[in-house]
């Protein structure tokens, strides 16, 4: 019981967090800020997936969570490298 309330609370928190990230992505000025917001959103999505795993009692999201954790990093680095040097592989 308490667990499901806590789950809903956590869902709400991270849902809200994702909405804030979205808001930031849409309204920010520069690309850098948007990448930052996107990166935060990736992290929050990971949390949501873990929450979903707890709720459903399944491990089926594990692979996705892991891949998101790994690959969100790659794309963020790629965007940042592009801003820094234009060429992301040199």
């Amino acid at each position: 019981m308490i667990l499901s309330y806590a789950l809903y609370f956590a869902f709400a928190c991270f849902g809200l967090a994702v909405l804030m990230n979205l808001w930031k992505i849409i309204t920010s000025e520069g690309v850098g800020d948007r990448v930052l917001a996107l990166d935060t959103m990736v992290v929050n999505s990971i949390a949501i997936l873990v929450l979903a795993g707890i709720q459903e009692g399944t491990e089926v999201f594990f692979e996705a969570t892991m891949i998101i954790a790994m690959l969100g990093f790659v794309s963020t680095v790629a965007y940042a490298r592009f801003m820094l040097r234009g060429n992301i592989i040199e």
Partner: protein, 952 residues
């Protein structure tokens, strides 16, 4: 001799001159002549049977399904024309041997000529109207080649094209007409059609067929208003003019009218169309001919006129008319061919055909003079030459023909025609041969060798012989032919010179006298003629063709202007319209599936997706930003896939998206970073409308599908039921991919592999052009930060890459039972390596890379294919999988499956493809001077004070 052989001989023979030209001009001509002679003999061998009223046939089925067959028959008409074609052909071949100069490619000439000859023989012997059409069009094609034979003459090229355009158009009409005729009659067999007069003439389509067929005949036979091409065809060498444009090809139209006479003639439509056209053509041609100064033009228009005359006769629809027509075809062929050859001789000797520059040749070229004069007199209708006979018959027939209740219209016009005919014939004699000898001929003329005049001389002998002894020489022939034309045995008077004093004789007399008067008045008349404005056919034709070309080019270039935006818009609108049509003309039942309740998290996802997508459009000019937003879309889609029970898709979507973004960023580096605002408000409005319509359509469609159940059980129930049992895996998606639908996956990895090698190939091609130098000297379009390979990134990558490879291995091995599989594993492995490339640079990483990516792709595809082939050894089809369980001592049992091997192929292909693509793209940025000795730029543990120094 078989009709097949007769028809085939010229075609087969066409090869010889082309080949024998190296053996010399005589050999070449002899070969052509021999073939023709052989074919002529073949016809003549059959002549007795035909003259006795028999019909020679030969049949092979060619395309019986259509009713187009190689059926030949030779009755009187066919034999008559075949003899004419081959006989005159033989004479022309002899003549041409001496006429053509050394520079002319004689082999080509005879080859074309024989092709044409074969086509003509084919026309006249065809017992199948579709076969006839084939030969008919072949004459157009071969005459195109013959007219354009002197390719250095613009007139020749243009004349050839004009002739082809006009006769080609007629030919197409003829195709239509023949198809209609055949469909009315229910057969394309000519002899069967000829028996069905009532059926055909009572058909509502009779007039259609008639008009279409006559269009073919009239264009070919240069009938008004299609007569204009014939004079322009005179740019051809004279033997061609003599052969095609007097004796044979132009008579094909007449032949066809005569051939179809039994079923088409006899109606009012026939009479009015054919005879009126013939009459107008006859008069018009004669009038124009009088004022032509070019010998060949004069003869050409005279031919037009005479063709009109014969058309007129055929149009009458009477037996006597037909007889006269047949007789005149024969006569005209003899005297006109002789005249053309004479004109050719004159041209050959004096180097001019301009009548105004000639005159007085009588003494210089006596032989030619005699030949030309006799032929001309025959053409003028002077007794006792053959021209007179047939013209008398014509006038006789005309004199009692009523046209729209008018008794005088035909006779008067016919007399005028005859009168002008006499006039230009006299002019040919008078202005060329008579008068004083001039001293300003372009070349000093004399009679040519016997080779050149023997042919016309022979023809002139025929002119005289037929004129003097018509019944003996041609009586039987003309009657047999006429019988064939009529399709029944007729009752004829014998041919004779003297018929007593008839209206025709008066008309003849008027014509001859009037002709002399006209000739006397030629100079003032000519001035008047020149001063009279009249439409110039060539100008009109050129204008029309020019307009057609411009219009075509305009249409084409406007329609295909390279604006792919418009192409795509048309595409999408068309799809929407047809999709809407298909929907509205079908029926849709009510919603049958309850909808899922809307929950908060997916709603947030929806919001994120929609917002990010709209932002992409709003900010699409900032390209980097739109890529970041694509990242958002990708993330949300991944989450949605997770939410809606598709973990495999989530994995795939995410990893593909990362690679895509890396790829796009690599490309964007070299491209403009912003998109200019280019489209007008109107265009943007249009695009928004199209897009919104498409969005509504697609959204509505999927909504309708989702809210309705399947109409039938889906096949995936089988997949769920058999995934473990038959495929050995719990992850049904993966089992579908590697087993149930492994063939799709096989294709898919090939797509990926091809994509990579295409990218590689483009890079190779581009790097061999000037682009390479440009790239090397490229100045970055934005400020570049220092520290290309940050220390932290390198160190983290050293840990992340092996761990990521481990994850890839895990995803690979567990994919059969849990989300994952070779494809995702391949992408993750590739991304792990990309990480390394990003960390330490292309040069450093590539120098440590020992596997050729091409090989990895190839091995992937091969492994997959060979795994698939392995099933053959079990006697199973391609890609049949097998699996089992191994129980090593002391350990748990584990599963093996050939599907895993197949998946390994997938894995390798994906790794190879992604890396080859990225490596290729990276090569654009590669510079031999970039330092690739160190994995990181700053390294305080290095003794060089830690830093890679770069300078220009």
């Amino acid at each position: 001799m078989s009709l097949f052989l007769i028809a085939a001989l010229p075609f087969l023979g066409a090869v010889f001159p082309a080949l024998l030209i190296r053996a010399g001009r005589n050999a070449c001509a002899s070969a052509a002549g021999a073939v023709t002679l052989l074919a002529l003999i073949g016809v003549l061998v059959n002549a007795p049977r035909v003259m006795a009223g028999g019909v020679v046939t030969a049949q092979i089925d060619w395309l019986p399904q259509l009713g187009m067959n190689l059926h030949f028959f030779m009755d009187g008409l066919g034999m008559f024309f075949a003899t004419l074609i081959l006989g005159i052909g033989l004479l022309i071949i002899i003549y041409a041997r001496y006429y053509l100069s050394r520079e002319d490619p004689m082999g080509q000439f005879y080859a074309y000529l024989l092709l044409f000859q074969g086509a003509m023989v084919g026309i006249v012997l065809s017992d199948n109207i579709l076969l006839l059409v084939v030969f008919w069009e072949l004459t157009s094609l071969s005459s195109f080649l013959l007219i354009g034979y002197w390719k250095h003459l613009p007139a020749g090229r243009q004349g050839a094209r004009m002739a082809l355009a006009v006769t080609g158009a007629g030919g197409l009409a003829l195709i239509g007409g023949m198809l209609v005729l055949g469909n009315i009659a229910g057969t394309y067999s000519l002899s069967e059609i000829l028996d069905q007069k009532e059926l055909i003439q009572s058909s509502p389509l009779y007039l259609t067929a008639l008009i279409l067929i006559l269009l073919g005949c009239f264009t070919k036979s240069a009938q008004f208003p299609f007569h204009f091409w014939l004079p322009h065809a005179m740019a051809a060498p004279t033997p061609v003019s003599a052969y095609l444009h007097s004796a044979t090809m132009v008579k094909a139209g007449l032949f066809l009218m005569a051939r179809l006479w039994p079923v088409l003639a006899g109606t009012d439509a026939w009479f009015y169309i054919v005879s009126t056209t013939g009459l107008v053509t006859m008069v018009l041609g004669a009038v124009i001919a009088l004022f032509k100064d070019d010998l060949k033009a004069l003869l050409a228009f005279s031919t037009v006129s005479h063709l009109g005359l014969i058309t007129l006769l055929l149009g009458l629809g009477t037996q006597a008319g037909a007889l006269a027509a047949v007789f005149h075809i024969l006569n005209h062929a003899t005297f006109k061919a002789a005249l053309f050859m004479s004109a050719g001789i004159i041209d050959h000797e004096t180097h001019t055909r301009d009548i105004k520059r000639l005159g007085g040749l009588r003494t210089l070229m006596p032989v030619t003079f005699v030949i030309a004069t006799i032929a001309s007199l025959s053409m003028a209708g002077i007794p006792p030459l053959n021209g007179f006979l047939s013209k008398e018959m014509m006038l006789e027939e005309i004199s009692h023909t009523t046209w729209l209740d008018s008794h005088w219209f035909f006779p008067v016009l016919a007399t005028i025609g005859a009168l002008f005919s006499a006039a230009y014939s006299f002019r040919f004699i008078g202005h060329v041969f008579l008068g004083p000898v001039r001293d300003d001929y372009p070349s000093k003329p004399h009679d040519p060798g016997v080779g050149m005049w023997i042919s016309p001389a022979f023809l002139v002998l025929l002119v005289i012989a037929i004129g003097l002894f018509p019944e003996a020489v041609a009586g039987n022939l003309v009657r047999t032919v006429t019988d064939a034309v009529m399709g029944e045995y007729g009752d004829y008077y014998p041919l004779k010179i003297w018929h007593g004093v008839t209206p025709a004789l008066y008309m003849s007399g008027i014509a001859v006298v009037g002709g002399l008067i006209l000739l006397a008045l030629h100079r003032p008349l000519d001035k008047g003629w020149i001063a009279t404005p009249r439409p110039e056919a060539k100008t009109i034709f050129d204008g029309l063709v020019g307009a057609l070309t411009r219009a075509c080019r305009g249409i084409t270039d406007t329609l295909h202007d390279g604006a792919i935006g418009r192409y795509a818009a048309i595409f999408i609108v068309f799809v929407l319209v047809l999709g809407g049509y298909a929907f509205t003309t079908g029926a849709m039942g009510p919603q049958t599936r309850p909808m899922l309740e809307i929950e908060v998290l997916p709603a947030i996802g929806w919001f994120g997706l929609v917002a990010a997508t709209l932002c992409i459009v709003a900010f699409h000019r900032n390209r980097l930003l739109s890529l970041v937003l694509i990242g958002v879309v990708g993330l949300v889609v991944t989450m949605l896939f997770n939410y809606f029970s598709a973990p495999d898709l989530a994995l795939t979507q995410l990893s593909v998206e990362v690679v895509t973004i890396v790829l796009m960023l690599l490309a964007l580096n070299f491209m403009p970073k912003t998109t200019p605002r280019e489209s007008s408000v109107g265009r943007r409005t249009r695009d928004v409308l199209i897009s919104v319509a498409a969005g509504l359509g697609v959204g509505g469609l999927i909504f309708a599908i989702m809210t309705r159940g399947f109409a039938f059980d889906t096949i995936s129930e089988f997949h769920l039921a058999n995934s473990y049992k038959g495929g050995g895996g719990d992850n049904v998606v993966n089992v579908i991919l590697v087993d149930f639908r492994g063939f799709d996956t096989f294709g898919e990895i090939i797509v990926l592999g091809i994509a990579a090698i295409v990218i590689y190939a483009i890079t190779e091609a581009i790097m061999q052009t000037s682009v390479r130098a440009r790239l090397l000297n490229r100045v970055p379009d934005q400020p570049v930060a220092g520290d290309a390979h940050p220390l932290m990134m390198v160190v983290v990558t050293r840990l992340m890459m092996p761990v990521a490879l481990m994850v890839a291995a895990y995803i690979f091995f567990r994919g059969h039972n849990l989300p994952g599989g070779g494809f995702i594993a391949g992408l993750i492995a590739a991304i792990a390596i990309i990480m390394q490339y990003m960390a330490s640079g292309f040069g450093w990483a590539a120098a440590r890379q020992h596997f050729p990516y091409h090989g990895i792709i190839g091995s992937g595809v091969l492994v997959a294919a060979v795994t698939g082939l392995g099933a053959w050894f079990n006697g199973m089809p391609f890609l049949t999988s097998a699996f089992g369980y191994i129980h090593p001592p002391g350990l748990e049992e584990f599963e093996w499956a050939t599907a895993a091997l197949f998946d390994l192929g997938v894995f390798l292909a994906v790794v190879g493809a992604v890396l080859l693509a990225l490596e290729s793209l990276s090569r654009y940025a590669w510079n031999p001077n970039i330092d690739s000795r160190h994995p990181m730029d700053i390294n305080p543990s290095r003794d060089d004070n830690g830093r890679v120094i770069r300078k220009d």
